[in-house]
């Protein structure tokens, strides 16, 4: 229990209306979007200024209170599941876009800014912030940076990391640390920004983030290609890249997902197709049109059963509706949905899809797979009911097996969802004992009392 006196101190910092310790509030900050057990914190604080944020961190440290920062709580790895009686700092009270600089093409934002709101504000000025996680309507920039979130445009435009020019954060004592700058080039000091991206709230608490912006592509074109074999689909992906064409998005849906989408939306999907590719090109109109023709030809020569090129915005929307519906369509089938994101070098996608099929059969679980074929980041989506302990055990074996398969192919545990609680016990498998040791030493140096989101990424021991 956090003493009343201490709660009072937090209230003085953030205001009475922004510190909550009611049973009801504590219960609703015990979880995030990951399928992990909830843990009830002891206090929620919602600072609305830089000063209050820094002071709140300091107060936690001085009193040895474990602290978990939370944006929208949409991460899929348990990164915002707090510690028992710990403090949760919610960032949605700090959501202003401080600056959008058109001349120098950057934006400065507070951590609680919602990704889609920033993207829209930037687009209104003819600029572009490409990282577009599926959760962008709610996810925060702070959460995106702390998870190094990806999205559909990873292949051509990269991930959140590629847009963070600099940031300021509070260290565990509440000192403001600045790294990076608003300039394209910056060689001053350690590259602390690099260390903080993907740190999942374990090393410091972001206060402001400087993001790179680029010109908004003026033209785009979408198409959908249907294949009767997985091999043909993935050979097509390889061929597109080998021909030096880089689509903005190159997405894949397997047969199970296609059928689920059809049941869900009755959009006339090819339910007997083994796989479907969705491609979108963007850039200069002439280049886009030329590349679109080349992609269409490639798809045909690689044996696509059918191809549909969107002729206008409405058709483009229909092409993407199928992809957007994928998660919903799968989610409707069973109560529990485990969304994995093991990632392999893209040439290994056919092997990975085949492996997932074998694993599903071996453990008798239902898996729909869709994802970002262009960057090897698949989302095998396990459909289950967590209330059935026997089935849940098989699901856990399935997850282990998927990770093993991805690692065997030279891949990684997580393309974009982060390590959090859900994957920390696999981390050594992908890296090495030395890596864990090194990471723990960094953590101990930066957070000697181990109060910053303990247990995430590198497990409990300090």
């Amino acid at each position: 229990m956090i003493s009343n006196a201490l709660v009072g101190q937090f209230k003085t910092l953030v205001g009475d209306e922004n510190a909550w310790s009611d049973a009801v509030d504590l219960h609703t900050y015990a979880y995030d979007a990951a399928v992990v057990d909830p843990v009830k914190p002891g206090l929620i604080v919602r600072p609305t200024s830089t000063e209050a944020l820094g002071q709140a961190v300091r107060l936690c440290n001085e009193n040895g209170l474990p602290l978990t920062v939370r944006g929208a709580g949409t991460n899929l790895s348990g990164g915002t599941v707090p510690l028992p009686d710990g403090v949760v700092i919610v960032t949605n009270g700090m959501k202003s876009i401080v600056e959008i600089n058109e001349a120098d093409m950057y934006a400065v934002v507070q951590p609680g800014v919602v990704t889609a709101k920033l993207a829209a504000a930037v687009e209104a000025k003819g600029l572009f912030y490409p990282p577009d996680p599926g959760s962008q309507a709610v996810s925060t920039i702070g959460g995106n940076v702390a998870e190094n979130a990806g999205g559909l445009r990873g292949l051509k435009y990269g991930v959140t990391r590629d847009y963070v020019m600099g940031l300021s954060f509070f260290d565990v004592e509440g000192n403001l640390v600045k790294s990076g700058s608003k300039t394209v080039k910056c060689a001053t000091g350690y590259n602390l920004t690099g260390l903080m991206v993907g740190s999942e709230g374990t090393l410091g608490v972001f206060n402001e983030i400087i993001l790179k912006l680029i010109p908004l592509p003026v033209h785009n074109k979408a198409m959908m290609a249907v294949f009767d074999s997985l091999e043909k689909a993935s050979e097509t992906v390889a061929a597109i890249i080998a021909n030096r064409i880089v689509p903005a998005t190159l997405e894949f849906l397997d047969n199970f997902t296609i059928r689920a989408v059809e049941d869900f939306s009755k959009a006339g999907m090819p339910t007997d197709a083994a796989a479907m590719l969705l491609v979108e090109l963007d850039g200069h109109p002439a280049q886009v049109e030329e590349d679109a023709e080349r992609v269409e030809k490639l798809c045909r020569s690689m044996g696509a059963a059918s191809i549909r090129v969107a002729q206008d915005a409405a058709e483009r929307d229909r092409v993407w509706a199928a992809r957007r519906a994928a998660l919903s369509a799968l989610a409707q089938l069973k109560p529990t949905l485990v969304l994995e994101d093991a990632t392999v070098p893209r040439s290994r996608i056919p092997d990975m899809v085949a492996a997932i099929g074998r694993i599903a059969a071996r453990y008798d679980v239902t898996i729909g797979t869709f994802g970002h074929a262009g960057d090897g980041n698949l989302h095998p989506t396990i459909l289950t009911d967590k209330r059935d302990p026997e089935e849940w055990q098989r699901v856990e074996h399935t997850i282990d097996a998927i990770f093993d398969a991805a690692l065997e192919m030279g891949g990684t545990l997580s393309g974009e969802h982060g390590t959090g609680l859900a994957k920390c016990r696999y981390l050594e498998k992908e890296t090495s004992a030395g890596t864990i040791l090194f990471s723990r030493r960094i953590k101990r140096a930066m957070d000697p009392n181990n109060i910053l989101n303990p247990g995430k990424i590198i497990a409990a021991k300090a």
Binding site: A23, V24, A72, N92, V114, L337
Partner: protein, 429 residues
């Protein structure tokens, strides 16, 4: 109060619907209450987690969960946007009924719901009496919008600008009607709804005019009761079912092709809630009636092929349309009201930004959480004003109340009308 274990057992009835939520958090992007407070317990995901908590016997008392459950507009924005297809409204209404049954209705609510609303005749008498004397307590606030405010400070009214009760409610203006289909070959039943009957009788009057004009037959029974949603929203299932049985009896006594209402909330209640919440005995009848229930705009456009009027006597004006949540999110009705406006001579539609964002009314939410309701409503009022339109049209009298309050407080000179009022006025011109 019975034990928390009993409550947990009652809540388990909802388990299969609760587990559908995958905790993705996407509801945060659309919940108007959460948008104001940033507090997880105010958003759907949080509320569902609290209900699961009751089921798992985690809380010592149900008060906090009950409070959160009531801090909701029942706007359906979250359900319309939920990737997992959680039946949010059904869960919330059932949970409110379980909790109110368990905790008992507060005395004031009991008096209003059971003592007044449940008895349509008494309700009519009391409001008629109120209409006579209200001028003693109120004064005009905005002539264009037609709102009033309190003469003396009162805790219930606060600084609201409200619409007063109509001098003559609709049921006094139009007696029971049963008129066969004319040349249209169609006949509808009209469910008036409390707000239209007692505050906006002109909407019903306009509806009748248009139906007449189109030679659509009409069944309008006497002594209609409330649709029951205020009772159900307070967890009073018994009163809801009493009102529902009363209305079902009235409407099954007539013959018609469709049942129409000009109130978005009534339409959505009859269409969605009646079959869901009916008792065994009335479920099939309610479901059959629900299938024939539709919004008046939808009927006019889809079934009665309303034609654009060509008389140009009605002067030109610009109209912006607010989508009531209960039409757009629940019933996917959004093009039809706009088509009615477009068919009205002299009216030019001018869209506001985000026309389908909730106005913040939410029935009793507005009474309990007026501050939040007003903050949400002010965003709406600002967008209406920014559109530059001279008239705000919307298909729901409850939204009309809220928007009138907000526009009036902002001293805006913008009329608030139902689409059928615009069209009917042009018929007169």
């Amino acid at each position: 109060m019975a034990s928390m274990e009993t409550l947990a057992r009652l809540m388990r009835e909802l388990e299969d619907q609760l587990v559908v939520c995958m905790k993705c958090g996407m509801c945060q992007s659309v919940c108007p209450v959460f948008d104001q407070t940033g507090r997880e317990a105010d958003v759907t995901r949080g509320k569902l987690a609290l209900l699961s908590g009751l089921m798992e016997h985690i809380f010592d008392d149900p008060e906090g969960v009950h409070r959160q459950l009531n801090k909701c507009l029942l706007c359906g924005s979250c359900a319309a946007n939920c990737p997992s297809g959680v039946s949010v409204q059904e869960i919330f209404l059932k949970a409110r009924a379980i909790l109110s049954g368990f905790m008992g209705l507060p005395p004031a609510k009991r008096l209003i719901l059971r003592g007044m609303l449940a008895n349509p005749r008494l309700f009519d008498h009391l409001t008629a009496w109120g209409a006579k004397f209200q001028h003693l307590f109120t004064r005009s606030a905005n002539e264009i919008i037609g709102t009033s405010c309190a003469r003396v400070m009162s805790p219930l009214v606060q600084d609201r600008h409200f619409k007063t009760l109509a001098p003559v409610p609709f049921h006094r203006q139009a007696a029971a009607i049963d008129r066969p289909a004319g040349t249209s070959g169609l006949k509808v039943a009209l469910f008036t709804g409390c707000l239209i009957d007692k505050i906006f009788p002109n909407i019903a009057d306009s509806t009748l005019k248009i139906l007449d004009h189109l030679e659509v037959g009409l069944f309008l029974p006497e002594n209609q009761a409330c649709c029951g949603i205020p009772a159900l929203a307070s967890g009073d299932l018994a009163t809801f079912r009493k009102l529902q049985a009363h209305n079902l009896k009235l409407y099954t006594s007539g013959e018609f092709d469709y049942l129409v209402t000009a109130c978005a909330t009534c339409t959505s209640t009859l269409h969605e809630v009646w079959p869901q919440m009916a008792d065994e005995r009335h479920r099939d009848t309610a479901a059959r009636l629900a299938r024939r229930t539709m919004d008046i705009n939808q009927f006019l456009i889809q079934e009665a092929s309303l034609k654009p009027l060509s008389n140009s006597a009605a002067g030109g004006c610009t109209v912006t349309y607010h989508d009531p949540c209960h039409l757009k999110k629940g019933l996917h009705v959004f093009s039809e009201p706009r088509a009615v406006i477009a068919a009205t001579p002299g009216c030019t539609l001018k869209e506001m930004a985000q026309p389908d964002v909730c106005c913040g009314m939410g029935g009793s939410f507005n009474l309990q959480y007026y501050d939040i309701s007003r903050d949400i409503g002010q965003l709406k009022a600002a967008q209406i004003q920014a559109s530059g339109a001279e008239v705000l049209a919307t298909g729901c009298p409850a939204c009309m109340l809220q928007v009138s309050d907000m526009l009036s407080q902002a001293a805006a000179q913008i009329k608030v009308r139902h689409p059928v009022e615009l069209y009917a006025a042009a018929l007169d011109a």
